[in-house]
Symmetry: C2
Subunit: 482 residues, 2 copies
Amino acid sequence: MEVKDYGLSRVSGRVLDGPTNPMVTPLLTDLYQFTMAYAYWKAGKHQERAVFDLYFRKNPFGGEYTIFAGLEECIKFLANFKFTEDEISFVCESLAGSCEDGFCDYLRGLDCSEVELYATPEGSVVFPKVPLLRIEGPVAVVQLLETPLLNLVNYASLVATNAARHRFVAGKSKMLLEFGLRRAQGPDGGIGASKYSYIGGFDATSNVAAGKLFGIPLRGTHSHAFVSSYMSLDEIVEKSLRSSDGSSSCEDFVSLVQTWLNKIQWSNSLRNVFGETNQSELAAFTSYALAFPNNFLALVDTYDVMRSGIPNFCAVALALSDLGYKAVGIRLDSGDLAYLSFEARKFFCTIEKEFGVLGFEKMIITASNDLNEETLDALNKQGHEVDAFGIGTYLVTCFTQAALGCVFKLVEINNQPRIKLSEDVSKVSIPCKKRCYRLYGREGYPLVDIMTGENEPSPKVKQEKICRLSRTLERVASINLS
Amino acid sequence: MEVKDYGLSRVSGRVLDGPTNPMVTPLLTDLYQFTMAYAYWKAGKHQERAVFDLYFRKNPFGGEYTIFAGLEECIKFLANFKFTEDEISFVCESLAGSCEDGFCDYLRGLDCSEVELYATPEGSVVFPKVPLLRIEGPVAVVQLLETPLLNLVNYASLVATNAARHRFVAGKSKMLLEFGLRRAQGPDGGIGASKYSYIGGFDATSNVAAGKLFGIPLRGTHSHAFVSSYMSLDEIVEKSLRSSDGSSSCEDFVSLVQTWLNKIQWSNSLRNVFGETNQSELAAFTSYALAFPNNFLALVDTYDVMRSGIPNFCAVALALSDLGYKAVGIRLDSGDLAYLSFEARKFFCTIEKEFGVLGFEKMIITASNDLNEETLDALNKQGHEVDAFGIGTYLVTCFTQAALGCVFKLVEINNQPRIKLSEDVSKVSIPCKKRCYRLYGREGYPLVDIMTGENEPSPKVKQEKICRLSRTLERVASINLS
């Protein structure tokens, strides 16, 4: 048994960069934070030392854990917290005739140098009611921070948790790609989703801006529009392709592809499996391969996966193979993904056997199309041959639960404990500064988290401890720390 | 009967400002848009004239209409579409060894001067399958626009629709306040929510940044933390308050409040209704009123609404009234809002009668606490006395449906119609450029929308027309335009 004080380290050090999104300014807050700051200031109370906890009350998605994220942006925000003159004028006008000049001067001098931030490490597994952040400082400035900190933590932690849940269902060996930018809730809904999906366990994103900002690996090939933008192979003017090692050049790659398509069609094992394939699609695949011979991955469901997309893909992949290139694989974006992945894999195996192209059966099969935790789980139950999943809408918008309800509650002022009462017992806040411990068993697995008052003795091994179980607030347990 | 060509006007004119969020750059797109652009360029196909439609397939929230929004940001994005050198380098590195220098030069010269945008007016009521935007231009550049345009329209239209639905349920006479910033999906999820809720029919927001950016009216007073930050009336040092007309000054406003609380408590009608009220709350209300005598609105549920919050509020409001100020009202943030609003109204009426303070019964009652369409509807059915609703999480995250599935489909290239087939009939795209008409009855109410091919004759009054009903794609109707 081991006890670790896992949460709430003091965050310190020099931070130069501002928040990723330049719109994250001290004005990104609710008006009532300013009316309160003014009232505190007017009452001479603004410098009183307050302690606020940021926490959530319930794990999202009906689940049993949450991944804490958003801390880096919170730190950048605090470190750069400063009003411009323009912002000060706007705030003072918004306080509608009630604002004394002295308050403008107060805002002018305001920063977070008197604010202390204590935080759980970003990416931690966390649980309800345990503070993710503790913010100590003059009550008026900490009050102003409430909304932006909640905004920066709520969605970040929600998406990271959603991503971790998708990873759990998909399994460690699958490639998970975040494809959600187009359906995200606004531009940095998309950028945030990419960052926090990566923190939650995804492998890559389609979002170029997020790739540039955060160094997340990028993935993407082509869409249906690319396929349908081609009419026929006649459109391809520049037909030559150098071999992978540069030693030779194929002058008419288009003919090579056609030859291969013919060979597949009339091969012993695939005769009568498909007829004439779609020529628009064949032209698009060929053209794409000419542009990306090292990175040929084709979307095969624009017309008919098994009777056109897969044969066309294989013809181009085999032509590339003649020139020493190894095609990457296919993407399926509609239909019965489990069935189609099995059929595609079978087709690849047949090609490998029939034409002796080593490794052809290992072609990567990527699946997309409104995937989520449930569909991944259903695919697992049916069995499938998918290697990589592209997940968009349900991941980035957290469709099954679009918000995490983090709150920001005053727990002390002037060293006095404060509480918010409520008829709804789950809404009653827990007063005072806290410490959080995570207890680990002999095998190194975490067993339970314990929250104590700041000045209570820390839990010790071989000690019996009476605890209230946070889940219910009703039950009291005796934990034997042996 | 009147026929209006309601949709898809050409957008033109000079636009100087860039998108509201500086993160909306040409890099805010999926990697595959760049791989496709490269493949088009490599095939010499990049300048081919393409036509794309942006539309959605199904109204959100199980509803019968959608409000189109996001157009202004799309226009600003297109008007300022230009790559920086830094962005070009990043894109070319991301194309992994496949990128010829000529493509970098191509990107360097790229803008949207050859792109034409046709759009439905922002704020329109729109329906599935009808193009909201039609974008015409060189295929490679229009392809790059797909993701950002979808991102800018999808969430904007979703929130505007959600707001319009809330307005419909709440009724025209109620004040609707958007309070969602803290729970929104990222910083500009919050800012976008404020803008598009306003377009959808909300009256104001709590979001100061949105107020500054878009001129949306701001609302907000104080939170529970403000209440619990006070211990007792002794904390209030500066106790004087000038009368509203400036003619006199009350040297001890705190005593005036206490006197009023005493009068209420021992009045004929309210004797025994409540006992000792919470002094922390009374101090907070008094202090807030001293800061905002013209704008006193108190959150009354920190301890006990009827036994503390309402009496304390009334004492302060009556003290303000003595000095010529008119208190604004209360906010309820928990409990049975219908019941509490009735009880609060009764209390105000009693005060008006007992102490002859004209208009006291008209005090504004604001309600918040996880409100949504269903809870508003339930409140209406129960009956209530609420004047204003503060709506957050469910509005801004569109909790019941977190994404609108707008798509962007190629419908023509080089004047040839293009289609995307699918086994799922709802996913088949409708080829060719379209015109949209809205038919109005004699009373001026809209009856039906009709979509035709670009070159088909427009529907005329007193003409019979055979149409396919878009909802099902199965039924054909004859509409008699009389």
